[in-house]
């Protein structure tokens, strides 16, 4: 695993300081930069865990038809046009005509352009076709409608419809009464500090009484008997439901389970005759265990979603309505506000480059497994050694920024769980990070950069040197700590990590990044993390967690690192 940097989102936690990196909760509160949003209103980072999500439209990922939300439910969340998924391999199916009848002399008859019925669905990837399961069509259009009949007559579907019918009048009747009665009680539930109209509506919906189900009240009621009064009252309102068929015989109808499946498995000769879990996973209804029974699936609809800041309800991201469009109307992503940080271990870079070239030579398929192990072994850091590392910051703003990095002190809170002897040593942090805390600048982002001379264009000497095969030493090794490089809107600073001899675990530490930028006629600062120093500048600070790699303990050899 290459060294990584993740960004902290406090998610309304009262502690703006993230948990120490060795705790399990650490991974919960850090995210890759590209998944984060930034609310300008609150001046804060927001992540996918704390934003509120709204569906702004449904569409079919295959035909890109935008499905009105009213028909989504009626069409059971799947495309009702001509889009089907291969039940065998998940590829999209296409409608193809049949072959012309064999003339008999072995020659192939001329193929008409119109196509011969019957038509069937065909997978160009695994060559499954719907005629294998007895599904053919007279004409190549309106396939979903043609299939609808068999889908609707399936026992599960009929049962579901019946259930809906049964509950419909009760739900309708109760929605009138509960809408007035349930809301005040739900107000008590809104203990959430930042609750808004959206969250209030959601919690009201969750707290609403469900007819026929006893009111959930965990505190006042302990035993079952005490609630009988309430329950009996509800029971009277609701007639008993009688299923269409006896559930005990359902397995004979092909819904799966029971003796037929046992019998099938007993006489199994080929593993591929059993439909894998993956193949049965995306069905709406219970399906048979046998591969030969798998039916084409209507493609599930996708949704476009917009996300709001949970505190101020401003929209953070909003896609364009059209399914074909991949653009956004509003897009406040953190990558446009916070500097992008990447970490590299220079001693690995050479080896990694070598390894990936080796991997490319290997035949397809096997390569990934091996290189993972190799990378694992190579990304390890030997206990007792000192390694330099590079932090490179890229400024997304159109103004230069001043950045200050500070590594959060590791207080390894006395690991009481550790047994005797080791605990004394473990008390000390397993490694020490040295990184300059002096602020440094990162130049502004510009749309187009002129090529730096030493970047792409070789000067004559160098060209000469390269041509004659003796390349110059890339760079004289000077310093490892401090500012190493500044080019375009990127600044690279160096740090060092010293691993103790008895170190174990991962080299992982929290790093506070604060940057000062020119505030363009911003009003009085709002939100917690920002403080204005001077009238013209603002400072924003955020935490990151840096993971350099696993520590290879002293005693062990380099090979068996997988413990």
């Amino acid at each position: 695993m290459a060294p990584s940097v993740l960004y902290h989102c406090p998610c309304f936690s009262r502690h703006l300081v993230p948990p120490p990196p060795h705790l399990a909760s650490s991974s919960h509160s850090f995210h890759p930069l590209h998944t984060l949003f930034f609310c300008e209103e609150c001046d804060a980072v927001r992540c996918n865990r704390c934003v509120s999500v709204e569906v702004s439209g449904y569409y079919c990922p295959n035909c890109l038809f935008e499905v009105p939300s009213a028909s989504v439910r009626a069409e059971k969340n799947r495309c009702a046009r001509n889009c089907f998924m291969c039940p065998n391999c998940r590829n999209t199916l296409s409608v193809v005509p049949s072959d012309p009848p064999d003339v008999g002399d072995g020659r192939i008859a001329p193929i008409s352009t119109v196509g011969e019925p019957p038509f069937f669905l065909y997978c160009s990837h695994c060559r499954w076709d719907s005629a294998e399961v007895g599904i053919t069509f007279e004409k190549p259009t309106g396939l979903a409608a043609q299939l609808q009949k068999s889908e609707d007559s399936a026992p599960d579907s009929l049962e579901f419809e019946r259930l809906k019918e049964h509950f419909d009048p009760i739900i309708r009747a109760s929605s009138l009464s509960s809408s007035s009665s349930a809301v005040p009680s739900s107000a008590a539930h809104s203990h959430h500090l930042h609750s808004t109209s959206i969250t209030a509506a959601a919690s009201a919906a969750l707290a609403r009484d469900i007819p026929g189900v006893g009111r959930y009240n965990p505190l006042s009621r302990s035993g079952r008997g005490t609630g009988s009064k309430d329950r009996s009252a509800n029971k009277d309102e609701m007639p008993d439901y009688k299923s269409r068929m006896d559930a005990t015989t359902a397995s004979k109808m092909g819904s799966g389970g029971g003796l037929p499946d046992v019998e099938f498995m007993r006489h199994l000769e080929n593993v591929s005759d059993v439909a894998s879990l993956e193949q049965r996973w995306s069905y709406s209804w219970a399906t048979s265990l046998q591969t030969k029974d798998l039916k084409p699936l209507r493609i599930p609809l996708h949704s476009k979603r917009s996300k709001r800041c949970p505190a101020c309800t401003h929209i953070l991201i909003k896609p364009e309505q059209k399914a074909q469009s991949v653009r956004y109307k509003i897009k406040l992503v953190a990558a446009n506000y916070l500097p992008a940080i990447s970490i590299a271990l220079p001693h690995q870079v050479e080896k990694f480059g070598h390894a990936s070239a080796e991997a490319a030579k290997r035949p397809y398929g096997k390569a990934t497994v091996l290189t993972d192990e190799e990378k694992e072994a190579m990304s390890g850091l030997l206990a007792g050694e000192t390694y330099p590392f590079h932090v490179s910051l890229t400024n997304p703003l159109y103004d230069p920024i001043q950045v200050k990095l500070s590594v959060q002190r590791m207080h390894v809170a006395a690991p009481s769980s550790d047994p005797g002897t080791a605990s004394e040593k473990a008390r000390r942090p397993p490694f020490v990070v040295s990184l300059s805390t002096t602020p440094f600048s990162v130049a502004a982002f510009a749309e187009a950069w002129e090529y730096d001379e030493d970047d792409d264009i070789l000067d004559d000497d160098e060209l000469e040197a390269r041509l004659s095969g003796r390349e110059k030493e890339p760079k004289p090794k000077t310093k490892t700590v401090g500012i190493l490089e500044k080019r375009a809107n990127i600044t690279v600073v160096g740090g060092e990590v010293m691993l103790r001899k008895e170190a174990r675990g991962n080299v992982k530490f929290n790093m506070l990044v604060s940057y000062t930028y020119r505030a363009d006629d911003a009003p009085a600062d709002m939100g917690s993390p920002s403080k204005s120093k001077a009238p013209a500048t603002k400072t924003f600070a955020f935490y990151t967690v840096v993971e350099l790699g696993p520590i290879i303990p002293r005693e062990e050899t380099r090979i068996d690192v997988d413990t």
Binding site: I108, I111, H125, R127, A131, Y364, G365
Partner: protein, 179 residues
């Protein structure tokens, strides 16, 4: 090992581009198309390719065995495929960057999917209509429905190439006589 003697027998109606690498005893049948940058390498025994095959760019066909490697008619070898099968039937498709080891004999109407690796340790023969697909080179049997249309498409594909390739490429031996 004796040095490989080159001996190319190319049918006058085959289209073999100049920029292909041929080594050893190779026979190419009528109407077969060999794109530039393809490699046909008869290391040990000869290679005999039937008619109407399409061998695309950077495809590699190798015969490591002593006996003749026979390739039937109307096979498609897509870009970057590497095939060492000792025998191949007709109407097979070898998709992009797939690889078939010399332990596998191919019957007819088989499909080896893109990137699939077919390298069994022991000799085996793929039956007619076998489909290899997916990252794990899973197998299944194709019903064969639609094969007439596919064959028709394959022929049109070859026909188009026979017409277009000579306009932009020099041909081997200049033998592709056109009426």
């Amino acid at each position: 090992m004796a040095p490989i003697r080159d001996k190319f027998t190319i049918h006058s109606k085959a289209v073999v581009c100049q920029d292909v690498e041929l080594k050893g005893d190779i026979t190419i049948g009528s109407g077969t198309i060999v794109h530039p940058k393809a490699t046909i390498f008869a290391v040990a025994g000869p290679i005999v390719i039937g008619s109407g095959c399409i061998i695309e760019e950077s495809a590699i066909i190798v015969n490591r065995r002593k006996e003749v490697m026979r390739i039937g008619d109307d096979n498609l070898f897509e870009i970057g495929s590497r095939i060492e099968s000792p025998s191949i039937g007709s109407f097979n498709t070898f998709s992009t960057r797939c690889r078939v080891h010399h332990t596998v004999r191919i019957s007819s109407f088989c499909v080896v999917g893109a990137g699939c690796l077919l390298v069994p340790a022991e000799d085996e023969t793929l039956e007619d209509y076998t489909v290899i697909y997916g990252a794990n080179a899973e197998r299944r049997k194709w019903s064969g429905r639609g094969k007439a249309q596919e064959a028709d498409l394959r022929r049109k594909h070859a026909e188009y190439l026979r017409e277009m390739l000579p306009k932009f490429n020099r041909l081997r031996r200049g033998e592709a006589s056109r009426e």
